[in-house]
Subunit: 398 residues, 2 copies
């Protein structure tokens, strides 16, 4: 990569500007995805970003690889005990004597054990949670980032069509998932999708049909899935896909780090009337959300509007899960991770801005019968939105 027009320089500058506004002397970036976002390399180490001046990437391994990827100068990690002194020498402004340096890092992901080691190695430093700052910076995507999500949208569309062509009555859910994963892989999917929330895992998405799709899970999403085992209690299981039941295909892929998330509802035969109607209301809610998608709309309003419509249609109890297992959002930001800002949920007061990318996923759950719904991913533009998802809509009848 040509470092002179490195796309990460602007991100480091935005971080520094935010740090200056927040009274932060330095940011010690610890999370691999954030390391990649700010510096182009997710080798094992810390990126030290002073409020002013050039960042430094201290790397455990691979140094060789970091030198190829990193915008910042790379230094061997060496001993954690001497790290503070080495940084103080290079950044006297941050560690000026007589004042307590304020250093931020991502508390939402950093394990306690590693943090306690840092505290021990950096006496006299005041640590601050920099998670929100990172999430807010990453919330606004550049044109390059949106281009990659667009590419992922094209990949998942081709995958969906191959999967639809392969679905057979009696096929276990996991076999349908294997078709999807294979098509993704052959088109460059990295083989994993990242999620930031602790203890959460995403396995390509949720592919489940009929009663199995309606089984609740720990996963913070409207559809669950029985899964193959209590050791992975979500998404595709071994239940055979039946006739006249909704097949929920909530899937994504990861292209050069960027993920897409989309949902389509398919059926072999026809949906029962109640579910067909609920599907149509999910499309109605999506259209209503689209009408509000422009700079200035407050994120939570999209959710509150969807709740009103679901209730007015008599489906409030089935919306985004059922009963005590309902989730309290309509969608989420998406980018390098699937659970980014803004969340379309109560309390999220962010106004939509150009560059935000959101997945909007109205769904209805009917225990014993299944889940129906739709999900598209959108980029907010100056005048409204661009629908990044390209897959055909409507109930996909097989």
């Amino acid at each position: 990569m040509n470092k002179t027009d490195h796309p990460y320089a602007e991100r480091q500058q935005r971080l520094q500007k935010a740090m200056q506004a927040g009274g932060i002397d330095a940011f010690l970036v610890n999370h691999h995805v954030d390391l990649y976002y700010f510096n182009g390399s997710m080798q094992n180490g810390y990126l030290f970003v002073p409020a002013e001046g050039n960042p430094l990437f201290v790397v455990r391994r691979s140094i060789t690889r970091a030198q190829q990827e990193s915008l910042a100068e790379v230094e061997e990690f060496g001993s954690l005990r001497t790290l503070k002194d080495r940084l103080a020498q290079r950044y006297p402004g941050v560690f000026a004597s007589g004042k307590e340096a304020v250093i931020a890092t991502e508390f939402d992901v950093l394990p306690v054990q590693q943090f306690q080691r840092l505290e021990g190695a950096f006496p006299g430093v005041k640590w601050k949670d920099g998670s929100l700052l990172v999430k807010e910076l990453r919330m606004i995507k550049s044109a390059d980032e949106i281009a990659l999500i667009r590419k992922a949208a094209d990949v998942i569309d081709r995958t969906l069509e191959k999967a639809l062509a392969g679905i057979r009555e009696g096929m276990p859910e996991f076999e349908l998932m294997s078709l999807i994963e294979r098509e993704n892989r052959l088109q460059g999917h990295l083989g994993l999708m990242r999620m930031r929330a602790y203890n959460s895992e995403l396995i390509t998405g949720c592919v489940a049909a009929g009663a199995a799709a309606a089984e609740p899970t720990y996963f913070d999403g409207p559809a669950g899935g029985r899964g193959l085992s209590p050791a992975s209690p979500q998404s595709a299981g071994s239940r055979p896909i039946g006739r006249n039941e909704p097949i929920l295909i909530d899937i994504g892929c990861n292209i050069e780090g960027y993920v897409i998330d989309q949902t389509r509802t398919a059926v072999i035969g026809a949906l029962p009337d109640e579910l067909q109607r609920a599907y149509e209301i999910s499309e109605k809610i999506l259209k209503e959300a689209e009408a509000m998608m422009k700079p200035g709309t407050v994120a939570e309003h999209l959710y509150l509007q969807s709740l009103d419509t679901a209730s007015a249609e008599g489906l409030g109890g089935h919306f985004m899960g059922y009963g005590i297992d309902q989730v309290k959002f309509l969608g989420h930001g998406i980018g390098l991770e699937i659970d980014e800002f803004p969340v379309l949920a109560k309390g999220f007061k962010y106004k939509l801005e150009p560059g935000m990318v959101i997945a909007v996923e109205p769904k209805f759950t009917f225990p014993g019968l299944g889940v129906v719904g739709i999900e598209n991913t959108y980029a907010i533009t100056e005048t409204g939105f661009e629908k990044l998802t390209v897959s055909r809509e409507g109930v996909l009848v097989l």
Copy 2:
């Protein structure tokens, strides 16, 4: 599941015994894999285990699902602010007035942000890092656990044979990986392999050939792989597999939570003499390790012995990586996660015991040429070992 002969009861008892020995009043299990190990359910919540008496699983979601899976009584999580009072009412011995309750949790994985919330909600509690205790308990597998790893070993063997039959000269590495992932999936692989280390990801393993396999990565293993992008800088990339170069197939799968890890070296044509010889030395090192695999052998001795042999054969500089990118171990424990105890590395003084399961992976890296080696997974028995890996050995000539 019939709760009266629930396999998790014995694990909870072993945990309580270890807590009593360590002066711990209660363990708040926070990590999803540990929740599953100790209680059979990885729904979102905390498992509160008093040093004496019955544990309680406080669950955010899904309560419905937790009630089906959990051995411990399930209670709705409710407000974190009131959790301590509710626990104190149920467990007066733990929170007796006039003394500071010592509560352990897994500091190696719990994020700082979540820990600080716990500290705020549990005034007067002394928190202790319980990571090591959990790792030591999980280090000794039951017969049921070993049976699942054996099952995973059978799956990966069938997958390997299908993959070998599908390799063609010029096939990009990721296409070979897609064959492997599909065969795994069709045999019940859960679709992910878990790794405990922070910022580490495992994508089925490392499938890479020739020069690409020898490229170092952040990943704490002897083989790297170019990967498809700096956004996932490891394992399979898009380089076409060539003739007369080693194809490293370091793969696993996850059956009902339990993972296997094995490596085979294949080649279309023949390996260069230097690499063929190095492969044979990797088998020699493996046989030497097998000869030491019995109760009483200190874990680090397996590593030290392998270093001696590699050096005596003039291959010390290529062993387990090359140059500054060498890793300092010969193998690792394996079970629900790929990076379990004991580690076969200097400083690990655990004596091998019946029930330990270890993956032993001597490998040699030749920059520009490739990586050769072998890896088997073994269970330690009363008298020696059982080789769980069933795949054929030797360089697999295609």
